[in-house]
């Protein structure tokens, strides 16, 4: 790791009682070079460095596309069962910029729904972590609620709320909220007891312990939940649109499905997937930027950004 060389040697250099130790950068308050040392500009750096790291992804995609081609020609599948990658690409390109309004609608629903889910999930996770009664009361109901098939949920919500974007937003929120609550509550409850005792011994209130210790401690867990949540939000929004939407990628897919435009449907799935990957990457990047202390523990498994 990069920090080792600088710090490992330094304790020995320090005078034991350094009353007279000359300051190396006199007149330069320690906090002034806080942000130059780390954090700034790393996002750009990482993006450039990350490109060679994604070669395996490219190879896998190439392999899958070849298999796809092979399957279509081997079994003589017609385009309305399994179109070739070329047909899908063709559909994608011919629609081109016309995807934009639908992407905009779906993105709007995802962001609003995910935001709503997040806003509901964080206080609930806090309550669950604080109170044994709430935990016992809420957890089973919460888990049971996840057993409702999302199609049924979308249908109910569509009936309950007026048309427009609201039903889709509600479905998305309900769908993305669950992983955030579960991982967040787990994170809040996994706080090290010794750390809690340190603050308690110093006279900290429950509230101070929550703000100073539990919440920051559980941020990585909340981010894990948010990464799952944003992925769930993409499919949640698409399903909501499929069931009761007037526009958006899910609505488009339903339209294409009924028109037997299978290549077009595949193309829309590609657009939806790309949207999902971009959003996941955005949450990962946010995590990377907001939790600098957590970078060393990260591998590229957890996010698309790699800690160095």
């Amino acid at each position: 790791m990069t920090q080792a060389t600088e710090t490992r040697t330094s304790p020995a250099n320090l005078p034991a009682m350094a009353e007279a130790a000359p300051s190396r950068d006199a007149g330069d308050p320690a906090l002034m070079h806080l942000d130059q040392k780390e954090g700034r500009g790393t996002g750009r750096l990482l993006l450039m460095e990350a490109v060679p790291g994604y070669l395996p992804t490219v190879w896998l995609l190439v392999l899958l596309i070849l298999l796809w081609y092979g399957a279509v020609s081997l079994f003589h599948l017609p385009f309305y069962i399994l179109p070739t990658p070329a047909e899908v690409l063709n559909a994608l390109v011919s629609r081109g910029w016309n995807y934009l309004p639908d992407v905009a609608t779906t993105l709007q629903e995802i962001l609003a729904g995910f935001g709503l889910g997040l806003v509901a999930a964080v206080p609930l996770a806090v309550l669950i972590s604080l109170s044994w009664v709430v935990r016992r009361a809420v957890y089973p109901v919460l888990i049971a609620s996840q057993m409702i098939p999302i199609f049924a949920l979308a249908a109910i919500v569509t009936i309950m709320f007026a048309y427009g974007l609201l039903p889709e937003i509600v479905v998305t929120a309900l769908y993305s909220f669950f992983p955030i609550v579960v991982t967040g509550a787990d994170g809040l409850m996994s706080v090290d007891a010794d750390h809690v005792n340190l603050l308690r011994g110093a006279g900290a209130s429950r509230w101070q312990i929550m703000l100073r210790l539990r919440l920051p401690w559980s941020l990585p867990a909340f981010f894990s939940g948010a990464k799952l949540g944003i992925v769930f939000a993409v499919s949640g929004a698409a399903i909501g649109e499929w069931i009761g939407g007037q526009s958006g990628l899910g609505y488009l897919m339903r339209f294409q499905d009924s028109a037997l435009d299978v290549p077009g449907m595949f193309a829309t799935v590609v657009v939806l997937s790309l949207l999902g990957v971009v959003l996941f990457a955005a949450v990962s990047l946010l995590e990377y930027m907001l939790l600098p202390w957590n970078r060393a523990k990260r591998t590229d498994l957890g996010g698309l950004w790699r800690a160095r």
Partner: protein
């Protein structure tokens, strides 16, 4: 001096843990110890003799089963917030820079962020650590982390409890930090109770010490350290030091002799 009550003391302190429904096991048994104002006192005993239980109980993190803990001669309703306690690990918060970790407990106490930072910075500077003020714990060595933990502890104007503060460090770093702590203590004249299994550490740092038997933890001997202060690591090479250590070893050995085992 005699008229003032000691900084804190335990009176017939006993702590038991419930291990089964109707069964308890004693961790501490009638412990009487006194820490005078500005005095450094060590409790020496092998692992598992209830040293951490002792500090947790004094700090108010757990309640005595029997007996009392007096602070300034009084029995407070809660001892939480009365002591500055450094547990075995440094327990720095990974998301805070050294300066904020050092000032954390000041902020808990009610100081503003800028006030806590100013005081933490002054302390870091005084001990030559200002270069590390902006480092997060992951970039600090073990010894450096422990220093930040100690500064966090000493920034509070309270009596200090230390639980084997240097146990996880290598011998050289430990010696350096022990000397450093002597300086910190001399400058702040804090009443301090330290638990350790390291005889050298106890003699080097304390004015007075207690030897403890394990299971249940009981005080078997109280000894005054006959070494002048201020001390440096060199004192560990003196005959007085060796004699003190030999005495302690002899007492600890008799307690382990068969027949006296509890």
């Amino acid at each position: 001096m005699d008229s003032l009550p000691p900084a804190f003391q335990t009176v017939d302190l006993g702590v038991r843990y419930r291990v089964a429904r109707h069964q308890t096991v004693a961790a501490l048994d009638s412990v009487n110890l006194v820490v005078g104002r500005g005095e450094v006192v060590s409790v020496v005993g092998s692992s598992g003799c209830g040293k951490s239980t002792l500090l947790n109980t004094i700090a108010g993190l757990q309640e005595p089963w029997t007996g009392r803990v007096l602070v300034g001669g009084q029995e407070p309703s809660s001892r939480l917030g009365m002591f500055s306690y450094l547990p075995q690990r440094d327990l720095l918060l990974p998301w805070l820079r050294s300066i904020d970790n050092a000032g954390l407990l000041l902020e808990i106490e009610g100081a503003s962020r800028s006030e806590a930072r100013a005081r933490a910075r002054a302390m870091l500077e005084r001990f030559g650590l200002e270069r590390f003020a902006s480092y997060r714990p992951e970039r600090l060595s073990g010894g450096m982390r422990q220093r930040v933990g100690l500064i966090r502890t000493f920034l509070l104007d309270r009596d200090v409890l230390l639980d084997e503060p240097f146990a996880s460090l290598d011998a050289m770093t430990r010696g350096e930090l022990q000397e450093w702590l002597l300086g910190l203590q001399a400058a702040s004249r804090r009443s301090m109770l330290l638990v350790t299994h390291d005889l050298d550490e106890a003699i080097l740092l304390s004015d007075r010490l207690y030897l403890m038997t394990p299971r249940p933890g009981r005080i078997m001997e109280e000894m005054v350290v006959p070494l002048a202060k201020p001390r440096t690591l060199e004192v560990t090479g003196t005959p007085d030091f060796a004699e003190m250590k030999a005495k302690m070893l002899a007492i600890l050995r008799t307690s382990r002799a068969p027949g006296r085992a509890a």
